[in-house]
């Protein structure tokens, strides 16, 4: 197996890749839970409201904020990738694009955390 040395990781593009992959994995694992909670609780609206009351705990709020961050960063990072693949890749713009992705995702998570 070939190993690249650590210099290949000292790059914004590498970290954008890691964040995109980890956020995607988190979202994929969360989806069945999301569907299950929604479908079971909607058969019993009082149960869903009791669930929402449970989610007001600080630890759950933090987990929800991280999920919103994962969703926002996967969206923004995915749009960047679509641009790279279908519009064109220019080396000089990539750090700025990655910074914009991070800023948009953090802004979404903050908006959620401040309103939730």
């Amino acid at each position: 197996m070939r190993h690249n040395d650590l210099r290949s990781r000292d790059h914004a593009g590498y970290w954008a890749f890691v964040v995109h992959r980890v956020s995607g994995l988190v979202l994929a694992l969360f989806l069945p839970v999301h569907f299950s909670v929604l479908s079971r609780a909607l058969a019993n609206p009082a149960g869903l409201d009791a669930f929402f009351a449970w989610t007001s705990q600080p630890g759950v709020k933090l987990a929800e904020t991280l999920l919103v961050l994962a969703l926002a960063v996967h969206l923004a990072g995915g749009v960047r990738l679509l641009f790279v693949e279908f519009v064109g890749w220019r080396a000089e713009g990539q750090k700025t694009a990655i910074a914009l992705v991070a800023a948009a995702a953090i802004a979404c998570a903050l908006l959620f955390a401040l309103n939730a």
């Binding site: 069945p32 299950s36 969703l71 979404c108 959620f112």
Partner: protein, 129 residues
Amino acid sequence: MDVRAGAAPVVDAGERIEGARFAAWLFVLQRASAAVLALCVLVHLATILYAVRHGLSAQAIVARVHASAVWPAFYALFVVAVAVHAPIGLRAVVGEWLRMRGPLVDALLALAAAGLLVGGLYTVFSLGL
């Protein structure tokens, strides 16, 4: 013939072309679903931020989805796109990080896609009907 020590077993050329064709289809499906999801997730994020600002309740969610046929249709499209997108993404992750590849992995991921599709559509229709 590949005679390098430890080289992968020689694969039939026809099989290799089939594999490449399958990978190309997955690439196209992944990007097409990503384009649909970009719009769906944007709307979903805006809805989440709006909903938490106005207080989450079961009644508010049901009322919103019942307000127009556009919402169940939107969520059904969202579910279809995500059921295509997530398993293809997982295929890359288990292939590269766990080195698990092959027909069994693909079959399990197809099962995961079917599970997401059925579970998601069931949720949408239990909400919207």
